[in-house]
Symmetry: C2
DNA sequence: CCAATAACTAAACGATTGTTTAGTTATTTA
DNA sequence: TAAATAACTAAACAATCGTTTAGTTATTGG
């Protein structure tokens, strides 16, 4: 054995995540990552392999961070209102995190729709597919909805979530609340 | 006088627009622009000043191209249904253009929210503000809506349009129609 | 205590970015 | 027809990108 790492991989990964979150993937350079993470390029490559690898782990970490609000949605018995709560929770997380911009998943989805990178794309699409399944599950608890309605509404809510994520990047809390209320008015 | 330009500035600008539309600003290189526009870098700089200048003119050209559907919205007497038609028209334009991705304004809005470029940002925000004013105008034709409701619904529709633009980048026509119908169900 | 070795620093890598420039070609008008 | 000049080609520009490598430092276990 020899010298030990002078940094904590989880800690620097969190810092990298927040930088990617603020600036997107392409607009985050290795130089920026160096100073934000507080470690040398060599160390980044030693721990995460590449910029791409670091970003992948960043996404993984993001999902882990959000696990609690997904679990809350999954375990709730409130039906459609559980989804509405989830929308509010998603917004809250963004503002709690402070300096970030919107939702990292949605940001990545937007950015990579212009880039050939099936690895990241598959990752994101799977994430959204899982969310849709959760929506469907909650919508189905309302027995007055037929299957077709449930699917349509699930698709609608997935896109509404997308609009919401865009909104959390610029709008204030009040406008966002209005948006959520109107989204669920007829669901 | 001397030699004349061997290309038509309007024609090559349209080609540049479609390339930016497909790939975004940062992911479009001067090399790609050269081959897509069919002219040399020198000629691009002679006609448009810089990559940034070319992109600005691209946005201007995009607005001009869409003037007809904005005019249709403005001149319509159908109230809220005019906005709904506008949503469908926006989708149609995307699909008619073929190889492009979503709405150039929304794409640019998303991409530049991560970049310090007040020129482009101001341009885009003004565009969205104008659209919101149009929405308000149409919503106001329904005299049963109070002022507060009109503003809330206009904000909602602006964000819904954002979600729609995201959808036209991946989803099929049927899902998009469902989304539009649900959006307007309670307006 | 010292040889082994992992983690560090810092410089350099080749590739690509947007932009400029020097030199050539073609067309215009006097 | 010939001088003038704008538009062309193609090469080079400096800066930055992600990545690698050579050399140094520090800490470990025998």
């Amino acid at each position: 054995m020899a010298r030990r790492k002078q940094y904590n991989e989880q800690e620097v990964l969190e810092k990298a995540m927040r930088l990617f979150w603020r600036n997107g993937y392409e607009n985050t350079s290795m130089q920026m990552l160096e100073s934000e993470m507080g470690i040398n390029k060599f160390s980044i490559y030693a721990s995460f392999g590449s910029k791409h690898g670091l970003f992948k782990q960043t996404l993984k970490n993001y999902k882990k961070n959000r696990k609690n609000i997904f679990d809350k949605l999954q375990n709730s018995t409130k039906g459609v209102d559980a989804i509405k709560d989830f929308f509010y929770d998603s917004v809250d997380v963004c503002y709690e995190e402070g300096n970030v911009k919107g939702c990292l998943i949605t940001n990545t989805y937007n950015e990579f729709s212009f880039i050939d990178d099936e690895v990241i794309k598959t990752d994101i699409l799977q994430f959204m597919e899982n969310l849709k399944i959760l929506f469907i599950e909650k919508l189905k608890t309302d027995k007055t909805k037929d299957e077709d309605t449930v699917l349509k509404q699930a698709n609608f809510l997935l896109l509404a979530k997308h609009g919401l994520a865009a909104a959390t990047r610029v709008n204030n809390n009040k406008e966002i609340a209005d948006y959520i209320e109107l989204t669920f008015k007829n669901i």
